[in-house]
Amino acid sequence: MKAIAIPRRAFLRQLGALSALGLASRLDLIRFAAEASAQTQPDYKALVCVFLFGGNDGNNTVIPLDAAGYGQYAAIRPATSGINLSQASLLPIQPIDSASPFGLHPSLTDLQMLFNQNRMAILANVGTLLQPTTQAQYAAGLRPLSLYSHADQQAQWQSAVSSAASGTGWGGRIADKVAPMNAASGFPVVTSLDGAVLFTSGASAIPLSIPVTGSFALSGYSGSTAAAARMNAVQQLLAQASGNALVDGASDIGAQALDLSATVNPILANANSTIAPLFTNLNTSTANQLYQVAKLIEARAATGAARQIFFVQLGSFDTHGDQLNRQQNLFEELSPALKAFYDATVALGVASQVTTFTLSDFGRTLQPASGGGTDHAWGSHHFIIGGAVQGGKIYGRYPQLSLGGPDDAEKEGRWLPSCSVDQYGATLARWFGVATTDLDSVFSNLASFSTADLGFMG
């Protein structure tokens, strides 16, 4: 049960009044969006969360490339295991401050480029944690609830709460803090390309959900008298209180949809988007999602948003079998899409105002499983991309690749995380504009860790 009352009705009413401006005036706004944006919104910032559903295998994403490190990797994942990446196939990166080189998965060419341009950082072995945890503490039972379970670990990555079920996500809670910065337009801080997800759930407003492709327009309203009367009835039915919480919930979502459709659909349908060419040849779900995000950023003057949080997702990382092929396909989709999106932010002049980052359920066992795959594990490596990122470095601490070794929680290579989701999120939130004094209310367990800033945002 949450203590916060439901302010949504008020929010929606405010929004409704704004969209009474009408579609035509919105289109005018969009037309002048590019021109206006530079002067009116110098403070614009966006966070783009890319969730890799299923649990990406970090152990085949970032691999030590020096002879000793690679040797440890290959001893546990030999060619006969069916999931070995050869040393020669890895894309070399030389992190600043690191004596040894690392290699990225061979399908991450674009990300290698961003890393080498210092536009991408790697956060090594980050995971859900109650507090900094030793092997002995883990063995004694100190661990997040339902470790190794997809649903629970997804929820914990999205909520940054590992000790209980949470009704809100950290994206939504950040949105609650920065919502006043969008007050002038009332445009939602959060936009999801994946519907209602915990990450986007806060107390202040329903997230906007937009389709990955296709129309966000309401059809069937021709302008006739009868159609106008029908729309009037639709609006009235959405405004009527029912006495049933579920009916009221459906009303809130429907009212928001109708209000925002008129504003947002022209933006998504904009055939003249200047960044369209960057995505033209990438007909993947991830690229399509990031293209929608880029169009909304492009139209920020029209939406009036000063702060935006986006949720984008790519699934099927649960590679229990056939991992080499599956992860390759996934990275061949992910890597160019992230690069195109970064290039779009450069083209829009907001590269240092937009930060993109990955989350995932968990890492995977270093030890192979039957069928050419891996099983559920814990800590894993993640990417942070953007002009404001202090890139070219590996943050956190890369684990020692040894079964039952100092970083293994069990005996199959399930890494005890070197840093926590709370710290990861707080580092991004601080950059985004959440006051230092508010960080502990967004990340309620942050005080359990030694630092609230992992450094990758400068």
Partner: protein
Amino acid sequence: MRDQTARMRRAVTFVTALAALLSAFRAAALEPTATVIEFYNASLNHYFITGFPEEAAMLDQGVVVPGWTRTGVQWQAWASATDHPSAVPVCRFYGSSIGPNSHFYTADPAECAFVKQDAAWRFEAIAFYIDVPQDGNCGADTTPVYRSFAPGAGLTDMNHRYLVDMTMHEHMAPSSILEGVVMCSPLSSTQKAADAVRLLEQATFGPNDDLIAHVFAVGSQAFLDEQFAATASTYPALPYVPAGQQATFCPTDPDPQCGRDYYSLFLLQNAFFQQALSANDQLRQRVAFALSQILVTSGLDVNLAYGMRGYQQLFRDNAFGNYETILTRVTLSPVMGDYLNMVNNDKPSATVQPNENYARELLQLFSIGVWMLNADGTQMRDASGAPVPSYDQDTIEGFAHVLTGWTYPPLPGVLPRTHNPKNYLADMSPVDTNHDKGAKQLLAGTVLPAGQTIQDDLAQAIHNVFMHPNVGPFVGRQLIQKLVTGNPTPQYVARIAAVFNDNGLGVRGDLKAVVRAILTDPEARGAVKLDPAYGKLREPVLFMTGAARALATQSDGVYFGQQARGLGQNLFYPPSVFNYYPPTYLLPDTAIVAPEFALANSSTAINRYNFANTLLFGTIAPLPTLPGAIGTTPALAALSSIAGDPAALLDRLDAQLLHSTMPPSMRGAILTALAAVPATDLLTRAKTAVYLVVTSPQYQVER
């Protein structure tokens, strides 16, 4: 406070006489003749009921006795002893000067006589007349009235509440004591029809005129018997095609749409919707659909139509069978084997461990869940208040070892190997030499001994899972959620779990008994549903079929398969083994469990409007590439024929789609919109009315 209630008492004496006078003029009728209305006083935290319209009007005015407001709860009774042969008087008491500051009602003559002797109570009047339970049960054409007792802070603070909505009654606990059934409220014909409609919403893909009349006529038990006996629909036979060879195989196949038809689930989706719209075995299909969303596989990984056909048919064939059979069949299914990596999962080698994927989800999603449960489905807590895990990593690894050694069934004419090529034509085949022979840790401390056969290990492990005490509440709760309400009370879950544990004949896991118990439970039945958290968002598939069946829509199913995706429920293609939505999803900003709301967002909301717009105002033409296609056409003639009378049109839609609960404000808004359609255009009036009802928030939620 006592002053006010004393004045109320005087008013009662007056209206009692008036009511008796009025009743002499009423003819005995089958329709209930009195409405009992509940009021609430916030400062007292007391409930009060009256069957006297004059008293209700007096309280509404709030002058003589202020402070009382209607709660919305009301139920039917008889105004006179002569109104119905089985009606008995209900004695109404008020606390005496030394008694409670509240009212008490009883239909039991012995209790009435007893309380009359109690100095703490004063007999006031015969409140109304009503039926009484026999052996705790209410007869046909009545619904139980449940009494709860709030002890309050002391004698003057005590209060009783009388409710016909079982869910509301159960939510009175634990602050009130639930005392059970004390009266039987007669149902009006409108209420009986509403219950028939609600049963059809829970047990079918949507009520239609014929079924509403039928259930009204034969009653819910007889209808369920018919449904249990109905012949199972079958998905069309779909041919084996070689996996991953679409590019080479399809050019050799006579079907020019070979890729679409055999390498995607298009034909299966069409068949699902055709049969949901028109086949007789509605309940079997509904239960199969529910099971397919608990024991999930997905076309995202298994896109061969013949394979998924077999997997989905499994649930229809076993929908009223035993859950242990389902667990076994699903475990051995090559589709599941492929989806969750049990197929070709071999015993450990020097570098490779058995695959944990199926082992983990078998426990987490298909049977017991991650936490130990009480019999009512709530989480068990240890002494420190922490939830108790139902298994640990060692157990997962134990099951992963049990599940080693199975491969695809051999293809006809192909020499069997230890790893056969992909083939979904039969259950997986055992390869004992690939099976781990060590001892295995199972649930509840059970350890399978070393050296057993692959088949014995599997059967004993499935039985170990099936016998776990979590299975009844875990599976029972989800079936309630899929069929009736997303937020069942623990009491409801406990009743269903008890039936799962023992069907009355000593059989555990009898789904026919479980489904019957779910649909005949007082929380499912009953004429009036007023609990503010009751019901569920119509999931996209049921939203579409509900609208289509109400309009007797003729369809080849294609439109519904296409639309399901944009509504968030791409049929047979859930995003992961966690289904389209989780059973634990909370309505935002509340503690109300509302699983289907995980699919409700601004994008899918727009698509619900657009689905209805195309269905009603558009033309859905047959697909030229689909042999026998007929497109999708709703039948609107019957509604057009009554659209000259918009009020009659809305009455009909209200009864069929909203169980006659359309609020006056909603009715007013729709009537205004209908008035804007020329009276000469009755078809557009009918379409407009249906559009506004099926897209309304009221209709999105089934309750």
